[in-house]
């Protein structure tokens, strides 16, 4: 154990570093997510680039002090452009023994551990599985350990506020936040403003939190922790106004924006499910945009209600996770048959079944692609970073409306809860995704000579069918899940027509390739020995891994897909350009199988299904191994 020595005269001086990865860990009831989020926001407002990884258990309040009750929040802050929350943390904040036991493995060698020493009593040590106190033996040699009696210091600090002992103790996360804010020279005002807004209604609690936060900060200053103070300069960023945003908020705002851009009211039919519920919560707040949210009785009713709203001319959305997508499958097939626009949002999590509800995975790609009965193709869009969920949502809505088709939008638990700075776009720069509805008959009835509306008359360019809304005089028509005659929409069981309709629905989706950007290749575009192909949230780790390997002289190119069906028109050519193709995926190789089947390329999988995202280092190792592999 390294003793922390004061260096006289250096108090207030901070060593300049270019980045730091901090992991806050404690009991689920310790408020670690909140602590991490506040540290993130203060850093974002300060101007650092950052990326976060919340990592919490499925239990709301797991038994106190147990390992499975540990909740953690990792954040990387930097003075330069970063794309992921960092590989190994250099600082670990441990609020109890279970947090130390559960998280120590992740810490980089020589890293700093800040420990709430008050919680290391025999009872908590036993719960965490320690037979002796790790603070009192040499098991932490090789790390820099800072012992702080956070619980008692917090209680003492907030005494004057008059809060009860239990409430006083609960402020200890703000003490920790104050201390870490001091260590990393974070400005205090962002957090203080937030405390005042959040607890303004209860002055006593507000004061206690302010006192705890300031006490933590003052502790750093006075308790001879000098030598442990760092500053990280703001990252150079494009000029503009920024906010720190997580994937689910960005996705929900993308849907709000899509409604505005399409000039259609948004309708969300949804059933609560982790990690997608925050989309329902967020949209439910924005009724002033004319957004309707219906919390349905089940997943099937969620998409059913959305489909009904789509028939009525609303921009229809349902948001769920993998188990919900499975239940919605039949209605998706109906939407494909009805050729009505709709967006199905899948915030993927570890599966199968309940799996790992709060942990991330990306193993729904095959289900999105093929998980329906019959020949039922639909477009798939995937987001690759928290803020990019905004654009991905607009793109999914654009395709749905233009081609009258359900679209699956894939995100995952990591993107959903992870945050990053986002240059707020000017709404006037966003695309117009408005669509047109039929207002006049498009056919004359052969028998009666009367004008009428044929719902399956198609735009020759897009193959999208004519869409007439209930309420439009003279265009009454019926649609259904039974196979229908192209054009009239009347029931048809003829072999030729069914074959034609199967082909037409597939051609419509395939044709979208003409309407999406070609996949861009970066890195050693001309002479790479290896192409790293990715999709979804692996982007951040892949970018860093490829950059690092290229800095070591390796010839590596990178391509990342935002459209999984159809693939970009140039993908086959891009894949065949390079001798080797490596596909890192948070599954056992879904995209690799798809590109192998589609393009006959020997794409190799690097798989991770541990409920946590890839680190850049893991992908680096895989890149090296693949480069070494004899052809």
């Amino acid at each position: 154990m390294t003793d922390v020595q004061a260096r006289p005269g250096t108090s207030g001086n901070a060593e300049q570093v270019d980045h730091v990865v901090i992991r806050f860990a404690g009991d689920s009831g310790d408020g670690m997510q909140l602590t991490g989020e506040r540290f993130t926001t203060a850093s974002a407002v300060f101007g650092n680039d950052l990326a976060t990884l919340p990592d919490f258990p499925a239990e709301i309040r797991a038994p106190t002090g147990t390992i499975f009750g540990v909740s953690a929040f990792q954040v990387q802050i930097a003075d330069h452009d970063i794309t992921n929350p960092g590989d190994a943390p250099s600082v670990l904040v441990c609020m109890n023994p279970a947090a130390l036991a559960s998280e120590l493995d992740r810490l980089e060698p020589g890293g700093t551990i800040i420990v709430n020493s008050d919680e290391f009593d025999e009872r908590n040590l036993t719960k965490a599985g320690y037979t002796e106190n790790p603070l009192e033996n040499d098991s932490l040699a090789g790390y820099k350990v800072i012992l702080v009696a956070m619980t008692s210091l917090t209680k003492e600090a907030v005494k004057e506020s008059g809060v009860k002992s239990r409430d006083a103790e609960r402020s200890k996360n703000l003490f920790a936040l104050g201390l870490v804010s001091w260590m990393y020279t974070r400005p205090l005002d962002t957090t203080l403003t937030w405390i005042k807004e959040k607890f303004g209604k209860n002055e006593m609690v507000m004061n206690a939190n302010i006192m705890a936060f300031k006490a933590g900060h003052a502790y750093g200053e006075t308790a001879e922790l000098a030598g442990n103070r760092y500053s990280i300069k703001p990252a150079p960023q494009k000029p503009g106004v920024y906010t720190s945003i997580n994937g689910n908020t960005a996705l929900a705002w993308g849907l709000v924006a899509a409604g505005q851009l399409a000039k259609l009211p948004v309708f969300l039919g949804s059933y609560p499910i982790t990690p997608a519920s925050d989309i329902l919560h967020e949209l439910a707040k924005h009724k002033s945009f004319g957004i309707r949210t219906l919390q349905a009785e089940d997943e099937i009713a969620g998409i059913g209600a959305a489909l009904g709203a789509a028939f009525g001319g609303h921009l229809a959305v349902t948001a769920t996770s993998g188990p919900g997508v499975a239940l919605k499958s039949e209605t998706m097939s109906l939407a494909i048959s009805l050729e009505l626009p709709m967006v199905i949002v899948d915030i993927q999590r570890g599966g199968p079944s309940t799996g790992l509800p709060t942990k991330t995975e990306a193993a729904d790609l095959m289900m999105a692609m093929y998980g329906r009965h019959g020949e039922a193709p639909l477009p798939i869009v995937a987001s690759y970073s928290p803020s990019q969920c905004f654009d991905a949502a607009i793109e999914a809505c654009r395709i749905a409306l233009k081609y009258r088709t359900p679209v699956i939008l894939l995100s995952d638990g990591y993107l959903a809860n992870g945050s990053e700075p986002w240059l707020i776009p000017d709404p006037s720069t966003l695309p117009d995704i408005s669509t047109t509805f039929a207002t006049e008959p498009n056919h004359v009835n052969e028998t009666t000579g009367e004008p009428e509306h044929w719902p399956y008359v198609r735009d020759p360019e897009t193959l999208a069918r004519s869409w007439a809304l209930p309420g439009t005089p003279g265009l009454m028509h019926r649609i259904g899940g039974i196979e229908k005659e192209d054009g009239s929409g009347n029931i048809s069981y003829t072999p030729e027509n069914h074959s034609h309709m199967v082909d037409t629905r597939a051609a419509k989706v395939a044709g979208i390739a003409k309407d999406i950007p070609e996949v861009a290749v970066t890195g050693d575009v001309a002479d790479a020995d290896l192409l790293v192909l990715g999709w979804g949230s692996t982007w951040g780790a892949i970018v860093t891994a490829v950059d690092r390997r290229r800095a070591k002289g390796r010839k590596v190119a990178q391509a990342h897909l935002t459209h999984l069906n159809p693939f970009p028109a140039n993908l086959g050519e891009v894949l065949k350009r390079y001798p080797k193709v490596l596909v890192p995926e948070m599954n056992t190789g879904h995209l690799a199988k798809l590109v192998r089947a589609e393009f006959l390329v020997d794409a190799r999988t690097v798989s991770k299904v541990r409920g946590v995202p890839f680190t850049a280092a893991e992908i680096e190792v895989a890149i090296e191994a693949e480069l070494e592999r004899k052809l």
Binding site: F267, A305, G308, N445
Partner: protein, 339 residues
């Protein structure tokens, strides 16, 4: 849409050009006729009318109406119709389904549509059998019913559809049958005019797989003695001479009695608007099979908050409070910083 001029229409205007494909003699024909004849009298436009159905024989209904329509998937019509009615409160949304569609695979959606009180007119054709899959017992088939899938008799206790609806908090519940067009139309009219979810059970004969199932009740010869007409504010009496009636005895149960035995004053006065559903529930349970006198008519009709209306009010209140949504303001609503 009350201030909109509704052009006069006839039955023909409400018929689509599609050939009706039910088995000859099916009770569905008489229900279709009743609806097509009723529509011109309801003061509604064809373009503002939507029929939504699930799967089953009854679910073909929308194809035959010259309105907007959706033939969806098994059981889901109440959910789909809920979304449509909430998104478009200006529309008249009807749900048509059979006992299998609405009480078995779609039972969950039905009860939730009813308890939400979404403005839907739900017509459930009850033939107590699965028709389209060729004759298995349904959730309303009697215990012991011998069918292809229950050769030794069904072991399933049946649902009482009206009791299910009442238990779900339905605000309008009625029963009629396919042999009495005026009564069907009166129930449909009442259901249509009800603001909220209206549930109408229609006894419907499946002449192929369950022929004559309701004959004990619905033939002209049997009606007077076997159907108990419920009329609001009037004593619950039936029989050729109205000689029989229903009383609530001191044990709290409903019983059928001879009026002469108990006196006219003892006969239950029907009150469809009672806030608590207990009386309607008791009437729903008066008959336990088609061999017992069975009430028809409006069991319950109470006005309360309608879902789409309440939803629209929340939207209006939100806009009143913070103005129409401003996208730029939303995107700047979290802490921001400028570079």
């Amino acid at each position: 849409m009350t201030d909109v001029q509704v052009p006069l229409t006839s039955r023909k205007d409400w018929q689509s050009d599609q050939e009706v494909r039910w088995c000859p003699g099916c009770g569905d024909y008489s229900i279709l006729t009743a609806v097509q004849l009723l529509m011109p009298e309801l003061g509604v436009n064809r373009e503002n009318t939507v029929f939504v159905s699930g799967i089953g024989c009854a679910a073909r209904f929308p194809y035959y109406m010259n309105t907007y329509g959706m033939h969806s998937i098994h059981g889901r019509a109440p959910a789909i119709a809920t979304g449509l009615a909430v998104a478009r409160p200006d529309l008249d949304v009807w749900v048509v389904g059979g006992d299998g569609d609405l009480l078995s695979i779609g039972g969950n959606h039905l009860i939730h549509a009813l308890r939400r009180n979404v403005n839907l007119t739900i017509l459930m054709f009850n033939n107590q059998i699965y028709g389209l899959t060729k004759g298995q017992f349904s959730p309303t088939s009697a215990l012991g019913k011998v069918t292809k899938s229950s050769p030794m008799g069904s072991l399933d206790a049946p649902f009482n559809p009206l009791a299910v609806a009442l238990g779900a908090g339905a605000t309008f519940v009625a029963r009629t049958h396919d042999m009495d067009r005026p009564h069907m139309q009166e129930m449909m009219r009442r259901a249509h005019d009800h603001k909220g979810a209206a549930f109408v059970e229609i006894f419907q004969n499946c002449n192929v797989f369950n022929d004559g199932q309701f004959e004990t009740l619905t033939t002209r010869a049997n009606r007077d003695d076997m159907l108990i007409p419920l009329e609001n504010g009037k004593p619950v009496r039936f029989g050729k001479e109205k000689e029989k009636g229903v009383i609530i005895s001191s044990d709290g149960a409903a019983h059928i009695v001879n009026v002469a035995d108990v006196g006219e004053d003892a006969i239950l006065i029907h009150d469809e608007a009672r806030p608590e559903p207990g009386l309607a529930f008791m009437l729903a349970h008066l008959a336990s099979s088609v061999n017992e006198p069975t009430p028809v008519g409006v069991f319950r009709a109470v006005q309360t908050i309608e879902y789409a209306d309440a939803n629209a009010k929340q939207l209006a209140a939100a806009q009143e409070r913070s103005g129409a949504g401003d996208l730029s303001a939303l995107l700047h609503s979290l802490p921001t910083w400028e570079v």
